[in-house]
Symmetry: C2
Subunit: 199 residues, 2 copies
DNA sequence: TGTACATCAGTGAACGCGCGTTCACTGATGTAC
DNA sequence: TGTACATCAGTGAACGCGCGTTCACTGATGTAC
């Protein structure tokens, strides 16, 4: 076999993490093998050990990647508009898009295999989701300050309900092999949700 | 090793399916090994092959078990009360309890490992969830007939949102190792949800 | 500018562990006579 | 009621595959002089 191009470790680490997430998305955690990831990156299995100590370390970098993707969406919608309700709406659809393109995300979050024997990893994912929810809460709070959102409701509860608008729909979309229309559901559900939280 | 008691195949099949689900709940899918399940049932690994053709068949029976548990909850709340909103509320808390006791359920539903190479299995789980949602829709429809629930809302959307009240909370509960108070969240969320769907 | 050398991302063969599965054998249980 | 036999749930040793990981080696790249 002809040798692959030599690239810096930082570049390869990024490629490997993304390839791993994609593999999990397409084939599931069990199929996320060193060989599979290596093939996707265009390297030989043993080459991955130049960039990661072992498979566990690879998974950790995938978790970091997920955190970054979640929080980047918040930044993006914050730049797009200053209106809290509009921010929420856009975040909703960006989140749907993110999960559509990275089905591996819910799979990892739910999978005990990732956490088994690694409690610190569970904490890490928990912190990432809390950070994401915290950003949503901040948007909600801003909406309450601007009197667009009912002040008697708990921002924490609302932010979790916000996630709830997407999650079951994402499962159905996934189980139906893309047949279920998530966007359509999200629009209807968001309207009801909006009616519940506005004064 | 002294031989285990000899029991009928139907009994063992049930024991094995439950043991498998418990193992998935506690250790994750990867740890759901033939050896692990056998130990839990009190048999030797090879003994399981007296009751199932192979591991795949075992997993299928776990999927059947999940379906039964979901639908049984609907039956139970239907027997408990005739009031649609009360039925929904009770179903919500029964569902939470079910997931608390069987953390393996969301893990299986989300796991691609279970479906990889077995499209019919994905369909099976999809059908189970659709059946469950259909029951919820029936309750919602009844509520609309009795004018307890707004008639301009789509029962399908509402039933999916109903699942959304639980799911994100279940994740947080799971990731926080039981520290997050699902019941408390469910109460708050259900109140907001109720406010949104009642006239 | 050219040469020598250190560095380091790549390769492929080999290993060992875990785990699903098979198979010959055992011995308890229920049934036919 | 007792005996012979078929049935079938149990056992444990052995297998083979997949996969993560190691290691000696290669050869390109950048740097010191």
């Amino acid at each position: 076999m002809v040798s692959a191009e030599k690239l810096g470790t930082e570049i390869r680490q990024g490629q490997i993490a993304r390839a791993a997430l994609e593999l999990i998305a397409h084939q599931g955690l069990k199929k996320m093998s060193i060989a599979g990831v290596a093939r996707r990156v265009g390297l030989v299995p043993s080459a991955l050990y130049r960039h990661f100590e072992n498979k566990e370390e690879m998974l950790d970098s995938v978790l970091d990647l997920i955190r970054e993707m979640l929080l980047r969406n918040v930044e993006l919608v914050s730049q797009e508009t200053a209106d809290p309700l509009e921010r929420l709406k856009r975040l909703l659809f960006r989140h749907i898009q993110l999960i559509r393109e990275n089905r591996g995300i819910p799979r990892i979050v739910f999978s005990e295999d990732v956490y088994a024997g690694h409690p610190e990893r569970k904490t890490k994912v928990f912190e990432s989701i809390k950070a994401y929810l915290h950003q949503v809460e901040k948007i909600v709070h801003q909406g309450q300050v601007e009197a667009q959102i009912r002040r008697d409701l708990d921002p924490g509860t609302i932010s979790i309900m916000f996630l709830g608008l997407i999650q079951p729909a994402a499962i159905l979309w996934h189980l139906s092999d893309g047949h279920f229309d998530v966007t359509k559901h999200a629009e209807k559900a968001y309207r009801i949700f909006c009616g519940a939280i506005t004064p």
